[in-house]
């Protein structure tokens, strides 16, 4: 009941004119960002955060919610019309979506995608509203050692799972840990890696590294013609085929559950949820051969799952302060910019803002349906926007946005440096997400470790004193050893294959 009274208390703040306008603009921009290949929700939010710096927290977060939800649906538009997924989460939509469009039903394919995305987002937002508060209450019981292991586990899982080569994943995490160390040590007052530069005394602002790593590389790709598409004539009229409501309901239920579960697991994201939902749907059906030929279920399953993942990803981020993927890290960055420290205390100290933010995730799911329903032709024009023109605009927006945080040219140069580094990391197949997560998780791990040792008088056994610590330590070891297990399995499979042939 406490949850419902908190929701009721936050609702009036959400339904104010500025927040509604912000949610609307965010959703419009989000669908556009998702529709443009090369741009993602992470990049859209990263560019937007500095612009929302001077706005009220809930206005800014409403816009963030709109971008996050909208981008997930937007990715399906080029996937259906052009066979090019706008975001990684739109990959599975290509299989049946484009085939249905080729058969002369692009409008129906877009409608199925829109309704499935909106439902997935709504289910995810409701799960966020109902699951996050009890989890936050449990998190209040976490000790310093538990927090240390939680941060270490989150970082390890992401470094191992996000990179093809775990060495590169951990190297990226080390970069983030290094950046997180810069500044004055809160416990001793010593300067760390500041190189006598006054601008570095307060550390590197999370937004500077986020915009550098996530906005500059796509801008370079757009300018050099590596991203973007040459969309010629696109027809979205199609025949007036009937919307298959009755057959899609079980698909939505199954896919929502898949999206929610995947969203809760660190390092997995909308693309995994969508692919898994599409595959599971094919396994459940009596006619799996029809999948990949324009089956409505094959569009509904991935689109519902990748949107159901959005709110679920935010559950560990908001309650524990532990982001499970890059986009959750960017959302945490948005909260930090407005002085809101994610974690269980957030639900006590800033209940109206955090519940309001969760409500905006639900409201923007509805906005997405309205905007998508009446604006599909507008987004077809977005697909025609030349990337070589868009790239310089993204760069300009990023520069002025980062400058406006503290009116600091130093931060703009730093952002540009991180951008160059991010571009180089992408070319070397080093994932950037572990670096960003390490900037957030590194200080949490260090602070918790030092506090636990201070309390115990330097006794290391305090790190494994409780069952939660034991469980998280075991999960960390499993995460570290999982690449070895995978290598042994694939070697064994190769040997069996060679013997068979």
């Amino acid at each position: 009941m406490e949850i419902f009274s908190a929701i009721a208390s936050a609702a009036p703040g959400v339904f104010t004119i500025p927040v509604i306008i912000a949610m609307f603009i965010g959703t419009v921009v989000g669908i556009g960002v998702g529709a443009l290949p090369g741009l993602s929700a992470t990049m859209g939010i990263a560019v937007l955060i500095p612009l929302t710096f001077s706005l009220e927290p809930l206005v800014a977060l409403g816009m963030v919610a709109g971008i996050y939800n909208g981008a997930m649906y937007g990715g399906s538009i080029p996937a259906i019309l052009l066979r090019i997924p706008g975001t990684p989460a739109g990959i599975a939509t290509v299989f049946d979506g484009h085939e249905m469009a080729k058969k002369g039903n692009p409008k129906l394919a877009l409608d199925i995608s829109l309704v499935s995305s909106s439902l997935g987002s709504a289910v995810s937002a409701i799960a966020l509203l109902l699951l996050a508060p009890p989890l936050a209450a449990i998190a209040l019981k976490f000790g310093q050692a538990d927090y240390f292991w939680l941060a270490v586990f989150g970082l390890t899982a992401i470094s191992v799972l996000l990179a093809g080569n775990p060495v590169k994943g951990f190297l990226s995490a080390c970069l983030g840990l290094f950046v997180g160390l810069i500044g004055i040590d809160a416990l001793t007052g010593n300067q760390r890696f500041t190189f006598d530069t006054p601008d570095l005394l307060s550390g590197v602002n999370i937004i500077v590294i986020l915009t550098g790593l996530y906005a500059i590389p796509p801008a370079i790709d757009l300018m050099t013609g590596k991203a973007g598409i040459a969309a010629g004539h696109i027809d979205v009229s199609g025949s007036r085929a009937k919307f298959p409501w009755h057959t899609l309901v079980p698909v939505w239920i199954r896919s929502s559950v898949i999206g929610l579960v995947i969203g809760l697991i660190p390092a997995l994201g909308g693309n995994i949820a969508a692919l898994l939902a599409w595959n599971e749907q094919r396994r459940w059906t009596k006619n799996p051969g029809a999948y990949g030929t324009g089956e409505p279920d094959g569009i509904a399953a991935p689109e519902c799952a990748n949107n159901a993942d959005t709110g679920a990803t935010l559950i560990p981020a908001l309650t524990l302060g532990i982001p499970g993927n890059a986009v959750a890290a960017v959302v945490l960055g948005a909260l930090l910019v407005h002085g809101l420290r994610p974690g269980p205390e957030l639900f006590r100290a800033n209940a109206d803002v955090v519940y309001g933010f969760m409500l905006t995730m639900l409201v923007t799911a509805g906005f997405m349906w309205v905007i998508g329903k009446f604006g599909s032709r507008l987004y077809v024009n977005v697909l025609r926007m030349p990337g070589k023109l868009l790239g310089p605009f993204v760069l300009g927006l990023t520069i002025v946005g980062v400058y406006s945080i503290h009116n600091s040219m130093f931060e703009v140069w730093l952002m540009l440096g991180f951008g160059a580094l991010g571009f180089l990391m992408e070319r070397l197949a080093i994932p950037t997400a572990p670096a960003v997560l390490a900037v957030i998780l590194g200080p949490i791990a260090e602070e918790s470790l030092r506090r636990a040792l201070l309390i115990s008088g330097g006794d290391m056994s305090v790190l494994l004193a409780g069952p939660i610590s034991w469980m998280l330590a075991a999960l960390t070891i499993i995460a570290v050893l999982s690449p070895l297990w995978k290598a042994i399995q694939s070697r064994r499979a190769a040997r069996t294959g060679a013997e068979a042939s």
């Binding site: 951990f170 370079i220 070589k388 605009f393 760069l395 520069i399 400058y403 406006s404 540009l416």
Partner: protein
């Protein structure tokens, strides 16, 4: 913590170096081929991006944007002059409205704005 992170990063770099060296010796590594024209275009784009930030602090953000944004698009290969000019002016007007009008961000002194009395 700083020592641990540095040591860990060094160890991981050493492992990566060793595995790369083994791949080169065995001939299993991926061959990197650079296209001279693309590298030159990329270098010019990087230089223009650095110039963007440098000029912003000297002649102001809006003046720099009017100069550098079309230059970057042109270097990238965009050739529709009318769209380029119209889009750049529109972009600057929107940014002026947002950052000066709405957010009142104290941007560096702007040459163009001082000329037109803005």
């Amino acid at each position: 913590m700083p020592v641990t992170v540095t040591a860990l990063a060094s160890a991981l770099s050493a492992i990566w170096l060793a595995t790369s060296a083994v791949a080169v010796v065995r001939g299993t590594g991926k061959r990197v081929e650079l296209d001279g024209r693309k590298v030159a275009r990329f270098s010019v784009l990087c230089f223009a991006a650095v110039a963007y930030v440098y000029l912003m602090s000297r002649i102001g953000f809006f003046t720099t944007t009017i100069l550098v944004v079309p230059a970057l698009a042109f270097i990238g290969g965009y050739r529709n002059a009318k769209v380029l000019v119209a889009a750049t002016i529109g972009f600057v007007v929107v940014l002026y409205g947002v950052f000066r009008g709405l957010l009142s961000v104290p941007l560096p002194d702007d040459l163009l704005l001082s000329l037109i009395g803005g």
